[in-house]
């Protein structure tokens, strides 16, 4: 248990200056053990990935079956170049801005003595649940100039930065303060420590968040329609709405798949140059919040307040305004609203559970058994993230109505579609914990005589808990506001909050009547966001390293 006494990094273990180099024989033994084929995780992950990619396979099949003559008119246009340019430049700018805002905000709420940290950490997650169509509508209805490239960048950044913020808070919380202390003692400035140690430690998590931002950006529709910004998704809708051409829509989706392959390739290249270093078991411990001087503290509060205000406060205010001002704003009947809340909660809950549970084996496989094939398996699940909900919805309609009639328009299928669409969100969050859960702790547990299942329950699970909770929260929040696939797959007669909002706001101009549903959506999502923030706060105060020690003894 050399590692327990010296909080060092595994990869540095053979560094001469480190002094705790493992004997070469042991190293060989360990590496041989690690090379063993994962008979449990491998097939499990394979099944999960195949199921996730089935809509994608169907898109390819539909395109091929339709033949070149039907696909070509959709692709052979100068318009496609415009779409490509619009999509790429938006993805780049929004990803960079989300990375900066998400990382900065996560640092402030996790590591500094920011006044009201816990409240801010909840308020900064919630914008993810303000549906993109509500946010864009709020902005463009008050400021008509918010449109086009500028408008899309503003709205998408405000909507998507939590995808970086949430995993980064987990990463900062689990970071190894020992390294920062060492860097400080070696004379680095605080700023340099932040950039070169803290952010660097969390680099793979940051990359994962950026990956999610850029991929999910491609699949959005409502906001771009409101803001008059044409992307592949708006063109796909056009293809379906004016052409009745599912094949053309599938072909355009394939372009999105190719784009996401490029993004994934880029991310993998980055990742391989800076692989995350796994902390030693005692490297995680309770961290003292960094004190802020008065002026810095004011600036920090102003910063997070501005961010939360623009992303959350502003749309909420507009929703309230419409509730008060709109003529159609007769309050919805309590039964209708209650059942919409109930169904939304139920479906999102199930989807969040399913996605989290399914993400676990894939994540463990990719991290613990890092080979080319396991990495490829994990990465391939990200492809569905960039496919618009309407395309996933239509492929599942085709698949289920023909071959799984008993499942068609059942709650199970809807939950499955959410799990497919938001799996990558769960995966990134789970992986952020898995990379930190050193298998050496489990090996230690085993060597102390615990049974494998007991080790999994008492060592692995507590180590993974923050990531699992984040994954659950992510998927829940996203599923609660999903609209296009929901409209197609929800059991007939059932209304969710998103479909009710749409029924009033999108179908007509009855924003007053739609507003209570938007308000309910935001309120409901605040619950998991709050629980998550609360729970994280307590567990970070405890320090996960010590709970591991307790589990081992």
């Amino acid at each position: 248990m050399a590692g327990v006494d010296t909080p060092t990094l595994e990869r540095r273990a053979d560094h001469p200056a480190n002094g705790v180099a493992r004997p070469a024989a042991l190293r060989r033994l360990v590496s041989k053990r690690r090379r063993r084929f994962p008979w449990l995780l491998g097939p499990m992950s394979l099944i999960v990935v195949l199921a996730l990619l089935s809509p994608l396979a169907l898109i390819v099949i539909q395109s091929v079956q339709a033949g070149w003559s039907q696909i070509w008119p959709a692709l052979d246009r100068a318009f496609v170049v415009t779409l490509l340019w619009n999509t790429v430049r938006l993805a780049i700018l929004v990803t960079v801005l989300s990375a900066v805002l998400g990382t900065g905000a996560a640092w402030l709420t996790e590591r500094t003595a920011l006044p009201g940290r816990r409240a801010w950490s909840v308020l900064l997650i919630v914008p993810l649940v303000v549906p993109d169509f509500v946010l864009s509508w709020a902005w463009s209805s008050i400021f008509p100039s918010v449109q086009g490239y500028f408008g899309a960048t503003l709205v998408m950044t405000l909507h998507l930065y939590p995808l970086v913020y949430l995993p980064m808070t987990a990463a900062f919380r689990a970071a190894d303060p020992g390294q920062e202390e060492a860097a400080r003692s070696l004379g680095l400035s605080r700023w340099a420590v932040w950039l070169r140690i803290s952010v660097r430690q969390a680099r793979s998590v940051l990359l994962g968040g950026c990956l999610l931002v850029s991929l999910s950006l491609m699949a959005y529709y409502g906001a771009f329609e409101n803001l008059h910004y044409q992307t592949f998704t708006t063109a796909i809708f056009g293809e379906l709405q004016t052409q009745f051409n599912p094949a053309g829509a599938a072909a355009l989706s394939l372009v999105l798949v190719i784009l996401s392959l490029l993004v994934l390739g880029g991310e993998t290249a980055f990742r391989e140059r800076g692989r995350l270093q796994r902390s030693g078991p005692m490297a995680q411990r309770a961290q003292q919040p960094i004190p802020l001087r008065l002026r810095t503290r004011l600036a920090a509060v102003a910063g997070v307040a501005l961010l939360a205000g623009l992303a959350l406060g502003f749309p909420v205010a507009i929703v309230c305004y419409w509730m008060a001002a709109g003529v159609s704003s007769a309050l919805p009947d309590a039964v209708g609203l209650g059942s919409a809340v109930g169904y939304t909660a139920l479906y999102s809950l199930m989807a969040a559970l399913a996605a989290t549970v399914l993400a676990l084996p894939v994540s463990l496989l990719a991290v613990r058994h890092q080979r080319r094939w396991s990495t490829a398996l994990e990465r391939s699940t990200f492809l569905t993230q960039a496919i618009p909900g309407v395309v996933i919805g239509l492929t599942l309609v085709f698949l289920a109505s023909r071959y799984l009639g008993f499942l068609y328009q059942s709650p199970e299928l809807l939950v499955a579609s959410y799990a497919i669409m938001f799996f990558p969100l769960g995966l990134v969050a789970v992986t952020s914990s898995v990379v930190r859960a050193s298998p050496r702790l489990e090996e230690a547990g085993r060597s102390l005589g615990r049974k494998p299942w007991a080790v999994r329950l008492t060592v692995t699970l507590p180590l993974l808990a923050p990531g699992l909770a984040a994954a659950f929260c992510f998927v829940f929040l996203s599923a609660a506001t999903e609209l296009t696939a929901t409209l197609m797959l929800v059991p007939t007669g059932v209304q969710t909050l998103a479909t009710q909002f749409w029924a009033y706001a999108e179908q007509g101009v009855s924003f007053g009547a739609a507003a209570p549903y938007a308000a309910a959506m935001i309120l409901m999502s605040a619950v998991p966001a709050y629980l998550l923030g609360h729970w994280f706060d307590r567990s970070s105060a405890r320090g996960s390293g010590s709970s591991v020690m307790e589990a081992l003894s």
Binding site: F79, F244, L346, V494, V509
Partner: protein, 356 residues
């Protein structure tokens, strides 16, 4: 290190309790939802349940469905989405569609589903109740209401005397920068089909290219009418009912725009027909026909006319919402549904002109 071990031992049960609280909250939420679910899917004793794919405004449909259920005891499960997306969905489902009745706002999607043999023939007892010009020539669907294409305009930016006599004039250079359109809205595409039917493909393409130069493109007609009302554009191509619905939402005092109908039966005054059909794969055809029959009955048409949707009922003798000018005074263009066809030629012209 001993201290931290001590600490964790003290605190772990609390963590467990916290997890239990979270789990309990989640479980009770799902239980709540499950209870709600029990009441949703049941049908009242022995009566059949039919499924309606609804592309019409849900509030309007709900009013009609409630009256129908009360009268017949037949339960109707309503699934609402965009009319065209529902048509896409029925195409994907093919002969496995769970839908019994399809109700949508524009005839082209009904024509398309007819061409794919996905709609059943309706008995003459239903189609004969509505004037033939509003029905499927092959009796596969029946019209229930119409809306008329029109212009919304801002009197502060353009006087009524300056408004164009033909919708084709909007492609002229003097309208540059003044027009709002929603080329991808499912209500705009039939208008292009009408221009093709009346003036031919080349003229329609030239018109669209002129619009591409002159107009600002919006996502949907709701945005067009809102933009004109805010004074952002002088005129916008709409359906009359969007303007009326905006006025209802904002109140007459906040409505700064007006609606203008093209004179002389210009093609710009196209009637958009909303229609209903029984889906070919329906297992409850009798009950489904009963519902369509109710839609076109005097009772059904009156419910349609009385709401805030501002569509014109097509059954003779049923008066529209009193806020509307009579249909005949809007000078609607005379075009039959067959020449209007499905949206496909119009859609490919829109692509050629670079508008979609």
């Amino acid at each position: 290190m001993g201290r931290s071990r001590q600490d964790s031992r003290v605190r772990t049960p609390r963590a467990r309790r916290r997890i239990a609280v979270v789990a309990g909250a989640l479980a009770s939420a799902s239980l709540l939802a499950a209870c709600g679910g029990a009441s949703a899917g049941t049908s009242s004793g022995g009566d059949p349940t039919i499924t309606l794919y609804n592309g019409q405004h849900p509030q309007l449909t709900q009013a009609i469905v409630s009256a129908f259920e009360k009268q017949t005891g037949i339960h109707v499960r309503v699934r609402t989405d965009d009319g065209i997306v529902l048509a896409d969905q029925i195409l994907q489902e093919g002969s496995h569609s769970p839908a019994d009745v399809y109700l949508t706002e524009n005839s082209p999607e009904l024509m398309l589903l007819t061409q794919h043999n996905l709609l059943a023939k309706l008995p003459a007892s239903i189609t004969s109740q509505i004037p033939a010009q509003y029905n499927s020539p092959t009796k596969n669907w029946v019209g229930i209401s119409v809306r008329v294409s029109a212009l919304a305009y801002d009197p502060a930016l353009v006087s009524s005397a300056q408004l164009p006599a033909s919708i084709l004039d909007l492609a002229q250079p003097q309208w540059k920068g003044k027009v709002a359109i929603a080329p991808t809205d499912s209500d705009f595409v039939p208008l292009v089909g009408a221009v093709i039917a009346k003036y031919g493909k080349q003229a329609a393409l030239n018109w669209l290219r002129g619009l591409k130069d002159n107009a600002t493109e919006y996502a949907d007609i709701e945005s067009v009418v809102a933009a004109v009302n805010k004074g952002q554009k002088a005129v916008g191509i709409i359906n009359q009912y969007y303007w009326y619905r905006l006025r209802t939402e904002l109140g007459a005092g906040n409505t700064k725009s007006e609606v203008y109908y093209f004179p002389n039966r210009n093609v710009g005054g196209l009637e958009n027909i909303s229609g209903a059909a029984v889906v070919a794969s329906s297992a409850h055809k009798t009950a489904a026909e009963k519902f369509v029959s109710f839609l076109v009955s005097a009772q059904g048409e009156k419910i349609l006319a009385s709401g805030d949707t501002y569509e014109y009922p097509v059954r003779p003798g049923v008066a529209p919402n009193s806020a509307l000018v009579p249909l005949s005074q809007t000078n609607p263009a005379v075009l039959n549904v067959t020449s209007l066809g499905n949206d496909l030629p119009a859609a490919s012209l829109l692509q050629q002109a670079g508008l979609t």
